[in-house]
């Protein structure tokens, strides 16, 4: 980053899935785009949800329009983001406390919205998904799936970059430049200093932080952020998405995600000042477990790896600040029309499922403002990693010669796994044993995915996300970083921060094996290694919150 002032057609603020999608769409339409993210991509709600690929069924009763959008996008994502999606299908399960009449209405609503919904007898449901509570009284099969938000966002970022976009993490937007009623660009700062990005259009895709960003431009948006807490279990208990067939409530959805499963979620309105607080309370954990066990009884004896919370970026329509008129659908503000500020766009609301559509709507508006006529192609072009593969037969043969770690990486990087070398023994050696992340994959993440800190490495590879939560691998990875750039102090501080970040998620569920594991980890890193005695004066990594 040499130049302090740079020119673009459009600045996108926010490195969540929405921002990444907008950057990709803009870049594909030939615009010069820069994406600015204060921390890392997927730092906000994108990296803090249950990874459900909605069929729309979950909202079909409350918001059929939204549901229709979902099923359309669902079909698109299965094509363009193959490697981020696992086609698990979903079950909506009625338990003895639930109302079968609700199930009947639910099926009707699904079919009306174009979502296939097959009613199953309890024993049929148990036969295809054995983890579900055997006391169920009814079940409906819907085309839900699991989607990995990290992979999806990274693939969008990669594709944006491949189309010429600049993506800058650890760049916090500090000001929005306005000249005579029109936006002229933004000011941002990073550890390398202050920068100005000039552009005629600025897209605010900052999720829960939209209100803050808008205020920099003197525009008022009333966010009504809702906090949702979730639990990650140590392995896959279920193979299908399991929902409770009732009005969405606490602890009523269990989504398989790679080799773990995620129980969601609670929903609590939080004041805007608290959106950075992602700690989960013991009460939230107990509530989730109490409800989750009803849905899938074996959760009671399944180890919990961590608890986390995300903040849904819900927004009030218009200037309503009462919270009565809140949208759960896509919200696109052209602030010229709304507030008389040209060149400023806010895209928010919605959900991961509909990110592409959100990006398309936002980019269409950007193009209108810039007088560009290029059309959106994001629905048809596969994302990097999801390109079609020639013959399934060949595919199988290739996989068979792959090492275990390579096969694990195939799930994470799709076709780009070819870029991970396994030729030399040092590339094959596993760094993270729980998640099977090889040294070669770490190198790939550093080089190709711009991972320059432990947290970034984790989001790009799953390193440290497994059973031991970084106990075996964190020190190995920090050492590899140090070998690469020689900055020992930075990487030791980063290691310490990473372990503390892991601890945040372990704390609320620190009992049983999780507490024993944490103690072993503490005995390793603190008692044996003495990392708690290291205090370098100024941690330089701006990943720190």
């Amino acid at each position: 980053m040499g130049k302090k002032i740079q020119n673009y057609d459009v600045v996108v603020i926010g490195g969540g899935i929405t921002g990444a999608g907008v950057a990709r769409d803009c870049a594909m339409r030939g615009l010069r785009v820069v994406l600015l993210e204060a921390f890392d991509i997927t730092h906000g709600a994108t990296g803090r949800n249950h990874g459900l690929m909605h069929s729309g069924a979950r909202y079909v009763m409350s918001d059929p329009e939204n549901a229709k959008e979902c099923i359309r996008e669902n079909r698109i994502l299965r094509r363009i983001a193959r490697h981020c999606v696992e086609e698990t299908d979903g079950l909506f399960v009625s338990l003895p406390d639930d109302d079968l009449d609700y199930q009947r209405r639910f099926i009707k609503a699904c079919l009306k919205a174009g979502i296939s919904a097959e009613e199953l007898a309890p024993d049929e449901a148990l036969a295809i998904e054995s983890s579900v509570n055997p006391k169920l009284i009814g079940a409906v099969r819907v085309p839900d799936a699991a989607i990995d938000p990290f992979r999806l966002t990274i693939a969008n970022v990669l594709d944006a970059q491949m189309h010429g976009a600049t993506v800058l993490t650890n760049h916090r937007v500090t000001g929005i430049l306005v000249e005579s009623g029109t936006v002229a660009g933004v000011e941002a700062e990073s550890k390398d200093g202050k920068f100005t990005f000039l552009a005629p259009v600025v897209v605010n895709a900052a999720g829960a932080w939209c209100q803050q960003i808008a205020s920099l431009a003197g525009v008022t948006i009333n966010m009504f952020p809702a906090r949702g807490a979730l639990l990650i279990f140590g392995h896959r208990v279920n193979h299908m998405v399991i929902n409770r067939c009732r009005k969405p409530s606490n602890g009523d959805i269990l989504v398989p995600d790679d080799i773990v499963c995620v129980l969601g979620t609670t929903s609590n309105r939080v004041p805007i000042e608290e959106i950075d607080n992602t700690c989960v309370t013991a009460q939230e954990v107990d509530l989730l477990l109490q409800e989750g066990v009803k849905l899938v009884p074996s959760l009671e004896r399944t180890r919990i790896l961590r608890a986390y919370a995300g903040v849904r970026p819900l927004v009030a329509l218009g200037e309503d600040d009462s919270g009565r008129n809140i949208s759960r659908g896509i919200v696109l503000f052209d602030h010229k029309e709304r507030d008389g500020l040209d060149g400023f766009i806010t895209i928010t609301g919605g959900k991961i499922m509909t990110y592409r559509l959100m990006a398309q709507k936002a980019t269409d508006l950007v193009c209108r403002k810039l007088g560009v006529t290029a059309v959106c192609a994001t629905a048809t072009r596969p994302l990097p990693g999801s390109e079609p593969v020639a013959e399934p037969d060949d595919d199988e043969e290739v996989e068979n010669t792959m090492s275990f770690a390579h096969r694990a990486a195939l799930g994470r990087h799709g076709t780009r796994v070819e870029m991970i070398s396994e030729d030399k023994p040092e590339q094959r050696a596993l760094v993270c044993e729980c998640e099977h992340v090889s040294h070669g994959e770490v190198n790939y993440a550093i080089k190709e995915l711009k991972a320059d800190s432990m947290e970034k490495l984790r989001r790009r590879t799953r390193l440290g996300m497994g059973t031991c939560q970084g106990k075996m691998c964190a020190c190995r990875a920090a050492s590899l970083f140090s070998q690469a750039d020689g900055d020992v102090e930075r990487h030791v501080s980063d290691l310490k921060m990473f372990l503390n970040e892991r601890w945040k998620g372990i704390r609320p569920i620190a009992w049983g094996s999780a507490l024993s594991e944490a103690q072993l980890s503490a005995m390793t890193y603190q008692s044996l290694c003495g990392i708690d005695r290291i205090n370098y004066s100024s941690p330089t990594d701006s990943d720190k919150q």
């Binding site: 392995h235 896959r236 080799i259 004896r301 275990f404 059973t467 106990k471």
Partner: protein, 410 residues
Amino acid sequence: MANKTHNFFISNNDGNFEQCLKCSICTVYCPVSAVDPLFPGPKQAGPDGERYRLKNPDFYDESLKLCLNCKRCEVACPHDVRIGDIIQRARLQHSPHKPGIRARLLASTDLVGRWATRLSPAINTAISLKSSKEFGHQMLGIHKHYDFPTYARQTFVKWFEKNALPQQGGFEKKVVYFHGCHVNYNDPAPGMALVRVMNKLGYGVELIDDEKCCGNPFMANGMPQRALQLAFRNMNSLRQIANKGLEVITTSSTCTFTIRDEYKFVLGLDNADIRDKVSLATRFIFKKLEDEELELPPVRPDFKIRIAYHTACHMEKLGWAFYSANLLRQIPGVELVMLDSLCCGMAGTYGFKTENFERSQKIGQPLFNAIKEANVDAVVTDCEMCHSQIAMSTGMKVLHPIEILDMAFS
């Protein structure tokens, strides 16, 4: 009879592997990864791999076949993770390869044994012939350096019926003997010793009408359904015996371990009612002595022997080496050297296989060295397969603890 739909793996997925703290202690004690880097080690093959296999069975890796099922990882694990069982189940559940002729031959100890004993002189000559060893090595993958156990001229059961059965009615106390395939077909000596010793101690010995192979070789060779059939039949027999209020004793640590633990944790069967009815003879005797229900008969005055006790892997897992060793220590004239508990590398039929032979010998080397250094008259072990391996690899005389008792009392 085995229920075709019995789902031996799902019924047993109790999430035990989640107790793993990733401490890697198990890796320290794996005899295979110590000599072969291609085995991913118990942590990777067990709990770490299991998480992936639960997502997608394609993550099953054929290198798991290198596991000996020695369970030393489980003994080392401070958190009671059944690592060996996880690996064993994964093999039975996911291995894409159908067992071949060799696997069937090695596993079918009962069937092969029945025919072989009838033809034993011819078979034993054939087994020892260089040409047939070469045939076995080339065609069947049974290593030519291996002395495949020879077959006895007369099965143990035949011997028992002819020579021992008539006297057994004369005892007030009775005990049932599960002899196992090896005693019956290959080496009846420990069985004969057992009958004499138990008679000396005042117990009449009965055999089981319908004794079947315990099933362990079928589990090890990828034939779970067959193992299940055998397990059902044995459990049936054992239940009937238990109902009569009789106890079952054995001389094979592996048969005992299989019935007690593998039926439950690998095959997923409920054996709670018979589990504690099956015990090793040494443990049975030790406990009767301890409870003062028995007294040792006089030992012949000239009896003097220096022996080294080898703890078989499954004895280590049972935690029962204590009983055999301490029973032997009570015999006047016995000088006992306790060898460090190490795997001999044989692991049932594992060491027979051509591709495993070298690995098997490497695994056993530290034990063989220790035996050579121990300077003893004989090695004593409760496992018939350790017996074969140690005898072949060290040239030492190998005996069963009950044979020592038999020698002392006669």
